[in-house]
Symmetry: C2
Subunit: 200 residues, 2 copies
């Protein structure tokens, strides 16, 4: 959901850029909201940590994507944002974005962006309901396949992908290996090719 699709130029001009090291925290659950962030480069993940110390990855935002849109209407952030890689982010102050909402088109485009997020989250929820690691990985691969419906380009490490999937990395490795043995997929570095299309 690229910023330029919905945020007017005037509001974009108010953006402030900032660098993050890998592993650095952008904000934490409960922090006062200052605005929304666009990831300019690198990857930033949204997550929550339960009291047993386990992190749930809610979303991994790459370059061009925004995070914390929903927090605009909330006084505090409701999840943690941590840089997965070295990253550059741009902060659009809350006031500037809210002011931009006075523009009809911007407000509608923003609503559409949120609506897309709702759909994405529902898909994620469906995925998390799949118990079987094999089925879950199949679901993930089918969803993330490129335009040809066959090749999946992994953005980060396999370990990161495992966290995004809600699996331990061991289970993920094993499942990938099993799928490859079964001839369902082929791996070449960070690219995975499905040997045949699969229904989602």
């Amino acid at each position: 959901m690229p910023v330029e699709d919905w945020l007017p130029t005037t509001a974009r001009a108010a953006g402030v850029e900032r660098k993050l090291k890998a592993g650095e925290t952008l904000f934490r659950l409960g922090d006062k909201t200052v605005g929304l962030y666009e990831v300019v480069a690198g990857r930033v993940r949204l997550g929550r940590v339960d009291r047993s110390g386990h992190e749930t990855v809610i979303y991994v935002a790459g370059a061009g994507e925004t995070i914390a849109e929903a927090s605009l209407f909330s006084p505090v952030y409701h999840c943690d944002a941590v840089a997965s890689t070295e990253a550059r982010v741009r902060l659009y102050p809350r006031s500037a974005v809210l002011a931009a909402m006075n523009d009809r088109k911007a407000a509608q485009a923003f609503a559409a962006t949120l609506a897309r997020q709702v759909m994405t989250l529902r898909t994620r929820l469906e995925q998390r309901n799949i118990r079987s690691a094999r089925e879950r990985v199949r679901h993930y691969l089918a969803l993330n396949a490129g335009a040809d419906g066959r090749s999946v380009a992994l953005t980060g490490t396999l370990k990161e992908a495992a966290a995004e999937l809600g699996l331990t990395h061991e289970a993920f490795y094993r499942t990938l290996a099993a799928l490859e043995r079964a001839g369902e997929i082929k791996r070449t570095g960070a690219k995975i090719t499905l040997t045949r299309r699969r229904p989602v």
Copy 2:
């Protein structure tokens, strides 16, 4: 997220009411979107069915809540809506709602509604990541506790709650029984009382 909070009177006037029997389908994934629905009475659940026939419950909407807001921006619905009980729903045609978005306030309120949904879905996602049935139920109870932070009023059957939690009904029953044995909760019919407050 009550309709009257954001949909202007003019658009609300365009609503068409309809009755549903328990188990009746309102729409299915892939159906052309005709608008959004307000649940006037009864309960309607949103879900998806994977190819193994397993249904994932995404949300259960009760009286006063709306479903399919996100689908306003999509040509087709992206999940199934099925009445859990006998229900009455009111359809607000897509065109009427989109027209209402020309009103600044309505558009902003709508965006805020979607933002709240995003937060709710993230919480659900976090919940689904909890493997332990006991912890998941605790999380659920803490989230659904009333203002006193102690009593939870179950809306439907325990079986429905189990589906919403993503557990088999057997596991849910057992967990409730175990929590009661452990003295953490007390059950009186459709009401559950936590014996002490718990952090989420």
